[in-house]
Symmetry: D5
């Protein structure tokens, strides 16, 4: 399996900052080291796994679950012995959210946090009027990141799509 090196747009690939290591499970440094060595983007890896880029990046950070097929595919793509991957916590259940300090200090992540802070009540009001009393699930949920370009420059479009869960009346 020969994967495309680098990103499709000339930007460098994302690598792991070592200072976050104490907050990550043991598969993370392994996966990121191979990704760096082979110079693979998440776009390339996501295609090989048949999954979304964000889900795959989350998997590298220990925030989403790998299926047995994901493990096999990753082992092949990244040239890591599958047994070595199986010794990590990839075979367990993710302990999500622990790698983030909240509020995020990193500007890119803070902007997402700020959107929740600024528009939280507005989202709630609009969603309640559209769906009634309930929540948008963050579990039965998927998300994508897209790039759009127009004359004003580049735009990032994030889509969040979750099942609507109405409160049980009891």
């Amino acid at each position: 399996m020969a994967a495309q090196e680098g990103t499709s747009n000339g930007h460098p690939i994302a690598v792991l900052n070592s200072d976050i290591l104490p907050r990550l499970p043991s598969q993370s440094p392994l996966l990121f080291a191979a990704k760096k060595q082979k110079n693979l983007s998440f776009e390339t890896i996501a295609k090989a796994l048949g999954r979304e880029e964000v889900a795959v990046a989350a998997l590298f950070y220990g925030q989403s679950k790998a299926s047995p097929e994901d493990v096999t595919n990753l082992a092949k793509l990244l040239d890591i012995p599958e047994s070595k991957l199986l010794e990590t916590e990839m075979t367990g259940f993710p302990d999500r959210g622990r790698q983030m300090e909240m509020p995020p200090k990193e500007p890119l992540m803070y902007r997402l946090y700020e959107i929740v802070q600024n528009y939280g009540y507005a989202y709630k009001a609009v969603m309640n009027e559209k769906f009634g009393d309930g929540i948008m699930s963050a579990i039965s949920f998927s998300t994508t990141v897209e790039k759009e370009v127009d004359e004003k420059g580049e735009w990032c479009k994030i889509t969040l799509r979750g099942k609507w869960l109405p409160y049980t009346r009891f």
Copy 2:
């Protein structure tokens, strides 16, 4: 101007919880009271203003800015004397974010916060690979909420769209 009463789907409209009042500017109770009295949804009000629902809800919570036309249109739609609206802080600049306690205690808003917490690093890695070093603006930014229905039930789709801002090299 006769506006459609209630929501288009039978759910009740959103009203203001009084315990949040100390965190809101003076136009908020005025606008929400009229909205309740006339039984208008944000969908209806948004159409009358030619704006997005989330932006209009944010305006009611003092989190987005009203243009002079917005004030005129709101005054008409809500039967509030324009002069009364102009006495509030609608004519000033929003002091955003103050109505939210973070982390949000409200389950609906918490789910959005949780998405940032769980996928923050994944978003960053994917966005950096697609756009390089920078951020998605939360200012040069718009957002929508849509409802999708399929055989599995109702789905809420939130779109976040912001200008990509690369870091200046200096």
Copy 3:
């Protein structure tokens, strides 16, 4: 509608501590005042509404939603004009969780918090092994409180029952 006064076991009924008022919506003092005046327990009110006691108590604290029938029934039972109830935020969507300071200072509530603190990882491990990767919903959810008596004394049994939501693979 003549409701049974007091509790069925001789303990006094629960009333509202005034120092929590700034954290509650406007229906709360109204409902609690009538409850106190008529000396009604949540057990009695729950029966009249055909709902669970915890749900009804949550409704009094603005933490669960009243249906139109609930409003009508409460108005009758508590001798509050229905129109007066409709002027409150009962007709809107609850802004849940705001009345609690976390960690709870109150010993009874702290014990529940402590159970989560002490057994959180144990619950997660057992639930993951039983259900796979996902969560127990707190929305598609119901809960009850029961009293059991044996030779060792009185026991409180709380049941939490929520829909299992598996993570979407995306």
Copy 4:
């Protein structure tokens, strides 16, 4: 003693995420490593010990106490020399609660926390009316997790059962 491998329902067993290690006593990595190697579920281990699954999982995380028989049984079941287990803090008294960051970032654990946050006052009011002034003990206490399946899907049922302790009048 030949124990059943895996879980009884096909889900993988729970393993230890290495990033939580600094918050655990020295027996935890030992026990979890053997559990992983032998592919044993907490259900299987609980049966071998004659205890509840949650209690056994808590024991693995250093949150509940092992009796001498538990140590002997675990040593046999997990093929760990008993002397090695006795060198750990299993022979001491648990220092409970230290492995959790509160509020929990992990979605599954957060949902439990959220239930306390949303229904705390409701629980208190109902419990006070049923039992008088006091608390439900979290010490003289037991808990179970059960799975229920119906046409709507899978449900998780958690039972919390604690001794009622009335406040001493002094």
Copy 5:
């Protein structure tokens, strides 16, 4: 009922600092105002109620429960119409702990907090060796304050006495 004015040792009586009022239930200002007007110490009031001084002071701060006899006795002693006392939250269940900011800023209260901070682990180790795995109850609990005088000066002796609760094995 003619009660002894002032304290038995010449120190002034304790009165209520008005800045803490928003954190107290409605009976607190009522009780403290009468106490001040009649210049009664907690020692005097405790004798009239047949209770301990700390319990009675806690009752004034809304932190312990008044029995019907307490209400009657207080009404008499303080010349407050019993009906007025019954309108307060004295008839409900205390919402304990809310009047304290933790860590305490007040030096006297901070010293108690500091004792827990400095000797917490030492208490735990000694108590575990004396009683096994469990806790000292703060509910099935009483406490007293005594004064001792010797040639070195005055000493304050606080006694905390609570039921030992062993952890349930489950």
Copy 6:
């Protein structure tokens, strides 16, 4: 010097949980390892040192000061070369309080914290009426833990005794 092994009541002795090590001075693991190896209770060690149990446990946790005689006695009792003890911070001044996270997560220690939280103002009011304006010293201070047994079970009695310090008038 042959010391009594185990506790006088059959409960196991207290040992050190390894996850607290980064918060302790270098003598703590040394002392606790020897205590465990020799199976000595704090009661036994306290007798050998002529000190109170809590003080000795605090000394093991680096929270109280060892005199030269304490060092000599401990060296003998625990079979640790005195020179080795002198290389630790036992010869310096304790840096108290650092091993505790506040509020305590551990239920036993939390109960003590809760007593301060619930009765803080009550203690202050009673102490001010008994002693005037001042504090009970936590420095010129001693404390004991006693066990009392009656027909209702076991009771833990903690005594706190501190010098009363009046505020200087200046």
Copy 7:
């Protein structure tokens, strides 16, 4: 009693910022209003009371105790009826420390906080070497502020003087 108006150095006198009022006892606005009206400095008031300026300012902020003579003298000096002062919490015991948010936001107060932060361990080491194991009392304590002028400008000299309290050996 005719007191000197203004300060002795031409700077205006200190008055009360109204936004801190909710954190102060009821005598504070009364005292500060009279101080402002009569244009009296703390230097002048301190002389009239025979006390230190800092102690008197602390008294105005409800942080130190007024003796009966202080009340009489203040009543005269400030032309406030003594009975009116006696209705406030001046006759009770100060609830110290509540008016400060920590860390202080105010630059002048932050500088004092910063001195503790920067030199805390240095002070401890030096004090331990000079006095042994103990603390400098903040209760049996006095403090002064002095002004010194030299060719480099004005210098502020604060003196803190407290009784040394050695730890009790127990």
Copy 8:
């Protein structure tokens, strides 16, 4: 250079508690180890450097800057090769304040913090009246610790002396 061993008053010298090491620069363990080995007090070291004791203790904790002469003198006095000292961060600029957790848990340091908390506003009011609008510098600043003995015991006197900085009018 033969320096006086121990302190001049018979108290032991201060040594470094190892649990604070992760918060200190690399020169700290080096300096403290030599200090302990040679049994030198800060008084002795301060004399050798011609500096104040608190400044020298701060230098050992990485909180004040060493001049080249200080380095030379310390190397001689402590028998550390100067080159070894120069490899540490002594040659850089201190990163002050990082070794302290605030609020301080240590009782001695807490008392200093408490003085700021209790007297903060009083200091500000008195300083403003004496100097006008500005602050006492914590940079253009020096401090000393002195011991005073009288019939009541030992007293600790701390002097803080800083340049007065008036706010610039702009």
Copy 9:
């Protein structure tokens, strides 16, 4: 004195958001109300006072000090009786920093906070190399905001200028 209405660039003037009122001194609502009524920009007011815009805005928020001339000029410009201004805390010393919650939630203010967070250590390193060991004063300090326009759009330039204060060697 006839002042220019509105801003010189067509943007509306800044007014006071009412929800921040509890954090401001009593002159703030007075000044802002007059500013709004007369539709004056800070540019206009600053010119009338001969001061910088930021200083004047800070004065409106109670964060900088008004001289007697400022009071006179403001009274004239804003048509407020000087006596009324003198009744406020304008005549006292500002209690700075209390109106801000940190970290700021407002996006504009957060960006400034973020600059400190991102570049803090870089500023320190560069400033230490240019000036030695010390700080840039925030007291002996002035600041300006300027607008620059080029082909890429509008740029905001903030200048911070403070006296360098070297640490005193003591």
Copy 10:
């Protein structure tokens, strides 16, 4: 390439305090070690890279991005094999802001934080009047530090220059 040793003004160069290492990416210790060994100031390095000093210092702390040319130039200037630099996270995207604890404890950095705290609302008001509703970008942003000397001493001038971003109307 022979670079100028030391700073141009006689102050020592800035080096890395080792206690901050756990918060920095892996290139930081490498770069700082070489900087120290070669005794190079950020001024010298900035010239070699054709960048601003603050940007280069931020790059050393892992807070700004190195271009491939920067890497090549740094490798040459610092005599580090380029391959070794490429193994670090210099080739990835910075994870900004993580090395700072907020609020900063270090006095120099705190002063910058304090400026935001004291003047935040004033900046916002002035900027809104000059630019309308929006923010100054901290991304499309540059900053410089300059030294100015006059008869009063040395002054530090920091310039912050960012693109003005108006809120999108949507």
